[in-house]
């Protein structure tokens, strides 16, 4: 669909591309690439049942990278005139200091997946259709319960067109749709207020919100959470058994192990996981993958932002650490396979190893058996964000919907509490793994070194024998 989009829109031709790459390698270097990006986006929100905000934007630019050994030179321009790109290439070239090299330019499409064959991108759909989605969400949330007082529903989509041309013959074009809805609800009862949030989306057309996850689905979910939280009591504090529900609680994997397995941290030996390849880092019930090839998912990509096809990478197999997530630079320097995890936020950013969709494969336990096995513990089903300290391995994630488990039964809803643990050993205490793997609904955004990229997570119901829960109540 977007074959040669940049060539046509900006009058680029083969000669130009060769000239830019030659300028990038004019002082030597091992590798250079050009990353062209053109993004169109729409955002709408309804608040107090009014469409108060509507935005559209266009952003375009080109980033030029030159790699020499472990060094990276980078420059970008948001003006795609030939002299500006050439200037960026010459600036990036300054990282190297040697004789000029000649790039291998190959303008034939490299191998790529076809994970989001969208006929009409959401960004091109009628604005009225998008408005209808947020209005429906607003109505459904308000209709859920009279205690629902405030509803904010938003919709956002973008279509990102990218073109990567590398001096090693890399040539990849992709057109990446991304759509998302979110609903935020506040419920009130007397003096007590509580919030609920929900949302989802992926690399799909608008239809998915009409046929599968409807605005009503997200609205009811946010409203349900807010009503439950009205009755939440103090969360206990201290070490206890923790059961994580399926889906979004997979953020555990993202924080506890995912970041620690990004190859750059391991190349520099700054990760608590450095040197643990082949060693046990989880119980034998745990197999964890990072899979960028799940069709339509928020974290999926036909090609990564260095032009390589994404892949399904086994990180942990039956408890043993098997692999790292690599980009071009770390694959070359570490002698690892390139797993297609080189990602960047935009043309303004240098690519680095990042996760795509990170999840644990299903086990054999029934979710109800897992809950029944807990005498007193926490059942956490929804989470806000998390964070990790790569170097000492400590990570947190904040439960936004959790319940007390007493004698194998779910009892009271609990107030928000942060869970904290140590990445390299938390999974060794996973004693039960459910047969109910779910991926999240498509809202995850991961931040690293100031760069945000969309990601996915997932787990089946899991039991961790001991984790520290940051409540305010007494643990007993």
């Amino acid at each position: 669909m977007d074959k040669r989009f940049f060539f046509e829109k900006y009058g680029l031709n083969d000669k130009d591309v060769e000239r830019y790459l030659a300028a990038a390698l004019s002082a030597g270097g091992d590798y250079a690439d050009l990353y062209f990006e053109y993004v169109t986006s729409t955002a709408l929100s309804v608040d107090e049942s009014m469409v108060k905000s509507a935005s559209q934007g266009i952003s375009a630019g080109c980033g030029v990278r030159v790699v020499a050994g472990e060094r990276t030179g980078y420059a970008y321009t948001d003006d795609l005139a030939p002299e500006r790109i050439l200037h960026a290439a010459k600036t990036a070239a300054m990282i190297a200091s040697g004789p000029a090299k000649t790039p291998v330019v190959n303008l034939k499409t490299n191998l790529r997946h076809d994970l989001y064959p969208v006929v009409v991108a959401s960004v091109d759909a009628e604005i009225r259709q998008k408005l209808d989605l947020v209005m429906r969400a607003d109505r459904a949330a308000r209709a859920f319960d009279p205690r629902v007082k405030e509803v904010r529903a938003s919709y956002a989509d973008e279509l990102k067109r990218v073109l990567v041309i590398g001096s090693d013959g890399t040539y990849a074009e992709d057109s990446q749709p991304l759509t998302r809805m979110s609903v935020f609800v506040i419920a009130k009862s007397g003096e007590t207020s509580a919030k609920g949030t929900s949302g989802g989306g992926g690399r799909h057309a608008l239809d998915a919100f009409l046929l599968e996850k409807t605005p009503e689905h997200f609205a009811r979910e946010a409203a349900r959470q807010s009503i439950i939280q009205l009755d939440a009591r103090e969360c206990p504090a201290g070490d206890m058994e923790v059961v994580l529900g399926p889906g979004w609680p997979g953020i555990l994997l993202h924080e506890a192990i995912g970041h620690g397995l990004e190859a750059d941290f391991n190349r520099k030996k700054t990760s608590a996981f450095a040197g643990l390849l082949g060693k046990r880092v989880a119980s034998d019930k745990c197999t964890v993958v990072d899979n960028g090839t799940v069709p339509g998912r928020r974290g999926s990509l036909n090609v990564d932002d260095e032009g390589n096809p994404t892949s399904n990478t086994v990180l942990i197999e039956k408890g043993i650490l098997k692999g790292y997530l690599a980009d071009k630079l770390s694959a070359r320097l570490m002698g690892l396979p390139n797993t297609g995890n080189g990602r960047r936020e935009s043309y303004e950013h240098i690519p680095m190893p990042r996760m795509t969709n990170t999840y644990m494969l299903a086990g054999e336990d029934l979710p109800e058996d897992i809950l029944r096995s807990v005498k007193r513990g926490l059942y956490a089903v929804n989470f806000g964000g998390g964070q990790v300290d790569i170097t000492n391995g400590k990570f947190v994630f904040a439960a936004s919907e959790a319940y007390l488990i007493e004698d194998g039964k779910i009892t009271a809803p609990l107030k928000n509490a942060t869970l904290i643990g140590n990445g390299p050993d938390v999974l060794t205490r996973v004693s039960m793994v459910g047969n109910d793997l779910q991926l999240d609904e498509g809202v995850g955004t991961c931040g690293k070194d100031g760069q945000s990229v969309p990601v996915g997570v997932g787990i089946p119901t899991l039991k961790v024998d001991r984790m520290t829960v940051g409540g305010t109540g007494t643990a007993e």
Binding site: T77, I186, K195, A237, F397, A398, T418, T468, G470, G471
Partner: protein
């Protein structure tokens, strides 16, 4: 200060022209913002250059009104066609938004800018040669690496510089422009103990001028000190003890106050401080001020993102909530006047941003405050974002040092600290004298009673 260049005149003309185009196409009011910036960054790791980055960008955004309907668009395509398309899309989009009686730009009488030199721009941040910039980063890392033999690895040293220009024009005829500069130096060393356990920490200095940037050696030395004191960290038992939050973590607690007085959260009932104006929401020792006019400040500008002059606002006085932080829209919704805190990038509707936001300092040093405590926790880092502004519930990962008999003893990690913001700010037992600006929000060391530490 910089002299007026051709580019400056062009950008002001451009913004005013976009507003005129929008009005010609049928807008009843319009506002255009242009952002132009350049950045330079370098990272050095283990003495070798790791990255060099240098670039510039320019883009604009427009907000249009058709009566009480509004929409906004942005583009980085500054060609005549690109701008035309942006304005046309904004007008089309505004036709489908709801009629909102409170929508609008400020009144003409509210517009303006504070006069005089605000000390925000120094071209010296760009005066260094590439080699000298690299040297700054290298010196910071080297100072950290050579501080102690246990520092054996590094995430690097860095030197960054940036300049930015912002131009705003609206259909009341307001045209304003300002320029700001920034530079920073940082180091992130890694220390390893006898068991092979690693810890890292960081330190940095930032300034609007190279002249006031702390020396890379000083930054590296402090980074090393902060890293070394974490070695051998352990968990502690779950308990309630007095907690002292250092400048870095107290600033984060003050950020939560800013988020809770943000007019958007207030009118949406999304803050535990909604409806609390005039009430006691903190201890009598708490006075919080937002001041967008402090010369050289990281939160200073001559006017906000709607063209309203910035000002000094007392947010909390002796524990009583005196003012929310507002832009034009949230002020109208709440029947109040804007506090000149409109904030926006190029895309999207204006939100609320702080000026220089700070807690008034007390009289004693952090060391004296620590000396009062028999058993307690000194928190130096938060992990995660477990804060619910609707309820005030607070639970975040933490690390720091244990206080025993008035002294800092062993390092602590893998714990959480929890409470509720309502109680926490009522229970600030003492405020230190160490107010220091390392960004647009600053808070001295504070001691809070009654929070739960969760660990073993």
């Amino acid at each position: 200060m910089a002299t007026t260049t051709l580019t400056q005149i062009d950008l002001k003309e451009l913004a005013a022209d976009v507003v005129r185009r929008a009005m010609r196409m049928g807008a009843t009011a319009a506002e255009c913002v242009v952002g132009e910036g350049s950045e330079f960054s370098t990272a050095v790791r283990l003495g070798e250059v790791e990255t060099l980055k240098e670039s510039g960008s320019k883009a604009l955004g427009v907000r249009v009104f058709l009566g009480q309907h509004t929409a906004n668009t942005s583009t980085s395509d500054l060609s005549t066609e690109g701008i035309d398309q942006m304005v046309r899309s904004a007008i089309e989009l505004a036709k489908v938004t709801s009629e909102d009686p409170f929508a609008g730009i400020p009144e003409a009488s509210q517009l303006g800018q504070i006069p005089g030199d605000l000390d925000l721009y120094y071209d010296d941040v760009y005066s260094l040669s590439t080699a000298d910039r690299i040297d700054y980063a290298r010196r910071a890392e080297k100072a950290a690496m050579s501080a102690d033999p246990r520092i054996q690895n590094s995430e690097g040293g860095s030197f960054d510089a940036a300049t930015g220009r912002k131009v705003l024009a609206n259909s009341h005829g307001f045209v304003g422009e300002y320029q700001r500069s920034y530079c920073s130096v940082s180091a992130v060393p890694i220390a390893i103990d006898e068991q092979g356990k690693m810890q890292h920490d960081y330190w940095y200095s930032m300034s609007r001028t190279l002249k006031k940037l702390e020396s890379p050696e000083e930054v590296g030395r402090i980074a090393a000190e902060r890293t070394l004191r974490r070695l051998g960290a352990r968990k502690v038992k779950t308990q309630r003890v007095p907690i002292i939050f250092d400048q870095q973590t107290s600033r984060s607690l003050l950020d939560h106050i800013f988020d809770a007085v943000n007019g958007d959260a207030i009118y949406r009932h999304a803050s535990y401080l909604t409806g609390k104006l005039g009430e006691k929401i903190a201890g009598g020792n708490i006075t919080v001020i937002d001041d967008g006019t402090i010369p050289g400040g990281f939160g200073t500008s001559p006017f906000d993102s709607e063209g309203v002059p910035t000002r000094r606002t007392v947010v909390i006085e002796d524990g009583v909530l005196k003012s929310y932080m507002l832009n034009t829209y949230t002020a109208k919704k709440l029947g109040l006047a804007t506090t000149g805190n409109a904030s926006r990038g190029l895309a999207g509707t204006p939100g609320i941003g702080n000026g220089n936001f700070f807690l008034q300092p007390g009289t004693r040093t952090p060391t004296e405050m620590i000396a009062d405590i028999k058993e307690g926790l000194y928190v130096t880092e938060f992990l995660g974002f477990g804060v619910n502004l609707v309820t005030g519930d607070f639970s975040r990962g933490a690390s720091g040092l244990w206080i025993h008999n008035g002294e800092l003893t062993f390092p602590v990690e893998e714990i959480t600290v929890a409470g509720n913001l309502k109680d926490m700010w009522l229970n600030v037992a003492e405020i230190g004298n160490d107010l220091e600006w390392r960004g647009a929000v600053a808070c001295p060391t504070i001691r809070i009673e009654g929070m739960t530490v969760a660990g073993e």
